[in-house]
Assembly symmetry: C2
Homo-oligomer: 184 residues x 2
């Protein structure tokens, strides 16, 4: 015999899962073949902390495809979202400030939307360079001569940004992640 | 006839000034020929905000030569301190995080103490490069070939750091500052 409170809790859980499922189903931009990740999984895969993920959700920096304003297990990150997280993680890991990383991500979204397509081909992922100058931030196509001139003649900083590298890093992290999952 | 409270206030001001004067006089590392700047002046010259200056004093990032723990008008920055502030200001202005700027400053102090000598000759001010890698920060002598290889082959960020440029920027700012002072 099952007690009444247990039934209430079970019904609540089923409804919660159903709600998320319907959200995923109804979200018009979502391809159901896509894989989705909870914020815990997204944090483990990308190396961003859960606190960072939460902060970026609130600030609108990287917004999960499903339930952007939600908290905890209700939130789902797509592969495209993970690529955005990888970009933030990379730029912060090389020592850029949060503002610079965020602004670079915004420029990358505009200049190269293919970067955030999970199935982008190598040809689609161009080499770029982030040009850091005092109180100025630019994004340009990578050009070896211009890069050398900038660094060597003008003594100005340069952050090469190769889309292929971000995709490669995500692939490696995903492999490590699914390897760990199987062991568990 | 002067009222008693006025005398008390005047005595207080005279003692305060005398205290600072004695501190400057007694501080064994201080060359009395050096010029000193209040935090307001240091802020106007270097472009760092007064809030940054206060925060960096508290954190021990850039500590004024006279009265490091003091507040407001009791604090005096030497030319050497201004050069440290200029380094922080430059590294932050090109988009590095506070932690990266602070760590770079510490490395610069060790590797090239001449950088913070107000009367350093051009020969003493070597060209360096800050090497930003994921979760790693290094400082090396600038080498055009190594710089190009790093950016072009490995796709890794590089911040050229030319001591002469920092001195040049400070000289220009000081000229602008004394120009403004004369107009006032």
């Amino acid at each position: 015999m099952i007690h009444k409170p247990v039934i209430i809790i079970l019904t609540h859980i089923v409804f919660k899962k159903l709600k998320v499922f319907l959200k995923v189903l109804l979200y018009n931009q979502v391809d159901m073949k896509d894989t989705f990740f909870t914020s815990t999984q997204a944090s483990q895969i990308t190396g961003c902390s859960r606190r960072q993920l939460q902060y970026w959700r609130e600030k609108g920096v990287v917004v999960p495809t499903v339930n952007a304003s939600g908290k905890g297990h209700n939130v789902y990150y797509s592969m495209s979202d993970l690529l955005e997280l990888m970009v933030m993680e990379y730029l912060l890991s090389v020592g850029l400030s949060f503002e610079t990383a965020q602004e670079s991500l915004e420029m990358l979204r505009k200049k190269q939307p293919e970067l955030f397509k999970a199935n982008a081909s190598s040809e689609e992922l161009k080499r770029l360079m982030i040009l850091l100058s005092p109180n100025q931030l630019e994004l340009a196509d990578y050009d070896p001569e211009a890069a050398f001139l900038r660094v060597n003649r003008h003594g100005l900083p340069l952050v090469p940004f190769w889309g292929e590298m971000i995709h490669q890093r995500l692939r490696e992290n995903l492999e490590g992640f699914s390897g760990n999952q199987e062991k568990m």
